[in-house]
Symmetry: C2
Subunit: 288 residues, 2 copies
């Protein structure tokens, strides 16, 4: 049942992304290249599942869910730039700047971020106040006090040994803020109550932390082919991770405790929370 | 009267920009550095004046006007990057990347763009439909079919001899789209009718073209100190400009004809259009 639902969400998301009114020019091509390059689509899946958990229709928030993937993709393109992480590969394919050049990659990222807000402002769900609230929340989560700040903190931390609270602070910004707002977006636009939205927030915060811990574990125990990127790169770069600080066993325990926390948060949804419940298990067990 | 009104708008804008809730960290500092570095503030001034022309209160749309300047500033920071135009100076000061590094400048630009949408989604004017419309319009004007596309076209055109329609197409994207949406923002949020908004659109399109022609003229006849950037750089780079295609006299004539067009568009506003009328003259006569 979980797999079928996941596939149903994925199909809706891939179709929505592919069917946006792309133009035939180099800029759109560059945006499309990075957007359609695979990826787990965790953010839009989380949004659709959250909408369904509060009794909403995932079909009606597809453009909003797609906007989250656009923002995620823009952040990956800019992160991979020579001036930033200088990565040549992403999701097992050449990074955007390796194909379209640095200027092309900077502009593709800028355009994806801007297009995300165009989509969010074009939902026409007949709930303008909720739509404005979501634009505000997505901007806050993506911007100077959210994702961009996380990226700055990550760059600043390079080569330093970090404490656990410092690592958590970076991840809260880099990935946590957007994951959390993805769940809230589903809750708000799906018509959830404030209690529903709070439950989804607690769930997503724990899930985001679990996601990152699992990433750190996979960097140590995964193989490069399954990961689609070189394994062991954190270690080689001397990066502080959950594993370097807690050890493999300690990190696995912390991962499990976050999964339990996530599952506890969505108890109130009962059966409607089934997918989110299994999504947490999927995060714990994923291989890439 | 024109000067006093201009000064009144400028003071409101500078205060709004300076008093945003900036934090004490390197990211906010980098954003602030480029934002408060002078500049003509044409976009927010145009927004405030347009609001007043349709009978609205400029004070009530200050955050929206500020968002336009944030977007303009982000575009300048990214344009100046080594991978793009590789400019070391901007507005007579060091470019952002010369102080905060390339990664810092990319992220400051990303954060300014995102913050602009946060501000636009936080207006709370009690007209959520109009607020959503403006977010949509600003995103379209700034993004892949507006400003970013203009920048791509500009880069693609480097070293080529362009025709007049090709130059106009680039400028429509690079500067025209944002100038036009600035006037429309003032018209929409100021409570203007659709006729008002159309008049402001026609005005701003002519003004944007005039602005660019004047830029090209100043590059030839201005001196570097007044301009705050090296004069004659278009010529040295072999760039096609209005002057290279029409000659100085031809460009001046075209400039004047656009000014007349702008002034004609706002006739219906009568006295309330006085400032916009004189703003057009100011654009024609500006020295930098």
């Amino acid at each position: 049942m979980f797999k079928e639902t996941f596939q149903r969400y994925l199909t809706m998301i891939e179709e929505t992304l592919a069917q946006l009114p792309w133009r035939k020019n180099s800029l759109d091509e560059s945006m499309y290249y990075s957007l359609i390059g695979g990826g787990k689509r965790i953010r839009p899946v989380l949004a659709l599942a959250s909408a369904e958990a509060v009794g909403g229709k995932p079909e009606s928030i597809l453009r909003a869910a797609a906007a989250l993937e656009l923002i995620h993709t823009y952040s990956l393109i800019h992160d991979d730039l020579p001036a930033m992480d200088n990565d040549d590969y992403r999701r097992g394919r050449l990074a955007n700047h390796k194909i379209y050049g640095e200027a092309g990659a900077i502009l593709a990222g800028d355009a994806l971020l801007t297009y995300a807000f165009e989509l969010l402002a074009s939902l026409e769900l007949g709930q303008p106040e909720r739509e404005l609230r979501i634009i505000r929340e997505v901007a806050v989560a993506s911007g100077k006090d959210g994702m961009v700040r996380g990226q700055v903190a990550d760059i600043t931390a390079e080569g330093k040994v970090l404490t656990l609270p410092e690592i958590e602070e970076i991840h809260k910004g880099k990935t946590g803020a957007i994951l959390t707002v993805s769940a809230r977006l589903g809750g708000v636009l799906g018509g959830g109550s404030e209690d529903d939205i709070q439950a989804l927030t607690d769930y997503a915060q724990a899930l985001g932390l679990a996601f990152q811990i699992k990433d750190d574990i996979l960097d140590v125990i995964g193989d490069s082919e399954t990961l689609g990127k070189p394994a062991g790169s954190d270690l080689r770069q001397g990066k502080s991770t959950y594993v370097s600080l807690l050890g493999l066993e300690g990190a696995s325990e912390e991962l499990h405790s976050q999964i339990l926390k996530a599952q506890a948060a969505i108890k109130p949804f009962g059966q409607k929370g089934n997918f989110l419940n299994e999504l947490a298990l999927y995060i714990e067990e994923r291989k890439h």
